[in-house]
């Protein structure tokens, strides 16, 4: 099969990172990029061979594309994804997926009807330790589950200043859409889908207008309840650190991007896990990639997306429907908080 042609819309931090990963992919030709910053486009014009656009519709009309990767601020996702799907192109969209459940639903339907590959950038599912956590829970090593916590902390906003789209809640700024969405999506795909939220707290610490921390309780479709605790104004962390703890009748598992710590009351012969603590590291679970930038998971998710396009299969990890469900839980948390 010939190379697949791709383009990127939005060259912020994630867009640039995706552009490098797509650019390095042996099966993909990155033919064009689109952004509104003349400074960024100028750099591409000066140093790279790709075509540059400031109008995404013009890019999609003029370039012979197979897929478009959208990494713009969240409020642009709906019109851009819609336009791209309508032209019959596969779409990889950054998270969070959409700001409005009904719009998101329309996109899920459209992608499905057109049979196009659709994926959202919840990259944690491409981290080997979280995959292992899911596998161990499915193998029921913890027995009946009793509780979970989903946490993420990091140092994004540690001072009172700054005003970009990230400080506007109506545009998808704030810790809930940015940090907490990762945790909600992990909980949803690894433990169970939240169907009810209670006691939600959205706290501003340094930001004006948006929350810097999100706390609350999640009730899942399997009846299990657990806690959400997310704070992006925590400078005790060097970078974003996401973790999931699951407690069961037979022990507990604490999992993050670097290690998985398993405590079992009764060992599991089948899994080769002894009674007591077992600690395993990412070195055992990392997904091999051909190009590395900031973490295997960022390349692995693009490899997977490209593989789905090449082999004409639908993505099982991070498809639009799964991304949309996370949007729904975000809406539930906002509604619960406002109601209090």
């Amino acid at each position: 099969m010939n190379n697949i042609n791709g383009a990127i819309i939005g060259l912020g931090k994630m867009g640039l990172s995706h552009a490098a990963i797509v650019g390095a992919h042996p099966d993909v030709e990155m033919v064009a990029v689109c952004d509104t910053s003349s400074l960024v486009l100028g750099a591409f014009k000066r140093f790279s061979q790709v075509n540059v656009y400031s109008d995404y519709k013009e890019m999609i009309e003029k370039e012979p594309l197979d897929f478009v990767l959208i990494a713009t601020p969240t409020r642009f996702h709906y019109p851009m994804v819609k336009y791209t799907l309508e032209r019959g192109l596969h779409v990889f969209c950054e998270k969070p997926f959409s700001l409005n459940f009904h719009e998101g639903e329309e996109l899920v339907r459209l992608a499905k009807n057109k049979g196009l590959v659709n994926q959202v950038g919840y990259h944690n599912h491409f981290i080997g330790t979280f995959r292992e956590l899911k596998r161990l829970l499915q193998a029921k090593v913890l027995g009946e589950l009793v509780h979970f916590t989903g946490e993420a902390y990091g140092p994004v906003v540690t001072k009172e200043k700054g005003s970009t789209w990230r400080s506007k809640p109506e545009e998808g700024g704030g810790c809930l859409y940015d940090y907490a969405s990762h945790v909600l999506n992990l909980v949803q795909e690894i433990i169970g889908r939240p169907v009810k939220v209670i006691g939600s707290q959205l706290k501003s610490i340094y930001s004006k207008g948006v929350e810097d921390a999100v706390y609350g309780m999640l009730i899942l479709d399997n009846g299990l309840s657990g806690l959400l605790s997310v704070n992006w104004s925590d400078e005790t962390y060097r970078k974003m650190s996401t973790s999931i703890m699951v407690k069961g009748m037979n022990g507990k598992i604490i999992c993050d991007a670097t290690e998985i710590k398993i405590y079992l009351k009764e060992g599991s012969k089948k899994e080769g896990l002894e009674k007591g603590w077992t600690i395993k590291y990412i070195t055992d679970f990392a997904i091999p990639v051909n190009f590395y930038l900031r973490g295997e998971e960022y390349s692995a998710q693009i490899d997977y997306f490209v593989d789905c396009i090449k082999n004409k299969k639908q993505s099982v990890f991070n498809n639009f429907e799964q991304g949309l469900y996370t949007d729904k839980v975000i809406e539930m948390i906002i509604a619960d908080y406002k109601q209090q």
Binding site: V22, A24, F291
Partner: protein
């Protein structure tokens, strides 16, 4: 280059296998004096090169070295820039233009300032030079014979196929700082090809090299092939594969490659520093 290069990850809560261990390290190295103490121990064991990021706290270590010139006059620092998390967090919060405004020295939006002129005329090389100057300011008066760009930036430029940026960096480091340029990467084979393609020959490349292929993108076979067949000056890092390998087996593996010049490693205790140093000297 010395065979043994002492690294700084342990001082700044960087641990590729465990966030818990990373946190314990950040508590231990809360005071700059505890960092200096470990560097001094490494020096007393005969290590003469320290490779470090342009983290703010390294500035304090440099102040100490400048204040004690007789002790450190023969000591080398290999700076690695930029300290990427500083910029990554800033881009999330302020956007790309906001980040440039924050970190390019002087008033970037004034056309009278050098920075302002660079921005207005989209003089990317000029902007790059201003950022390099700002990052390296803390090392004034200290021996920095080799200056690296960090892997996040190297690999970003590599993926974007903007290879001319490497050329510009290479020229500027040699001319302005009278130093050798170096490159840290997680994608060594692809980087070497890219550097060669813009006429950079026999470059100094610091990259993951370990027995289990951890963070060796594209697989261990192609790394071994390049180490055995290509012309470049490799420095091995992540040799313990984030703790998955014991020092002895890890460093014996490195002995297979006759072209390997140096090994970068970090450790917090005198015993570990001594043990690793001896192993490197025996095997390389």
């Amino acid at each position: 280059m010395d065979k043994v290069i002492f690294g700084d990850n342990q001082f700044f809560a960087v641990n590729h296998a465990s966030d818990d261990k990373a946190r314990a390290q950040s508590i231990r190295f809360k005071e700059d004096s505890s960092i200096i103490k470990v560097i001094d121990q490494a020096m007393d064991l005969g290590i003469n090169t320290f490779m470090c990021t342009t983290h703010d706290r390294i500035g304090n270590v440099c102040n100490h070295m400048r204040a004690n010139p007789s002790r450190y006059k023969d000591f080398n620092i290999y700076p690695c820039m930029p300290y990427a998390h500083k910029y990554a967090n800033a881009v999330t919060e302020l956007g790309i233009l906001g980040t440039i405004k924050q970190y390019v020295p002087g008033n970037i939006f004034s056309t009278f300032a050098k920075g302002g002129f660079a921005l207005l005329s989209k003089d990317f090389i000029g902007m790059m030079q201003l950022l390099i100057d700002a990052e390296l300011k803390m090392f004034k008066g200290i021996n920095t014979p080799l200056i690296f760009i960090q892997n996040v930036l190297v690999d970003m430029i590599l993926g974007l196929r903007m290879y001319d940026v490497f050329k510009e960096y290479d020229t500027y480091i040699r001319k302005k700082f009278n130093a050798e340029p170096g490159y840290i990467t997680m994608n060594m084979p692809a980087l070497l090809d890219a550097l060669n393609s813009v006429g950079i020959e026999n470059p100094i490349i610091c990259t993951s090299i370990n027995k289990i292929g951890f963070r060796m993108s594209g697989g261990i076979e192609i790394y071994e092939k390049y180490l055995n067949e290509k012309q470049f000056r490799p420095i091995a890092m992540q040799v313990l594969a984030a703790g998955a390998l014991r020092p002895k087996e890890a460093i014996e593996y490195l002995g297979k490659f006759s072209g390997l010049e140096s090994v970068l490693f970090g450790a917090s205790s005198k015993e570990h520093i001594q043990e690793t140093k001896v192993l490197i000297e025996q095997n390389l």
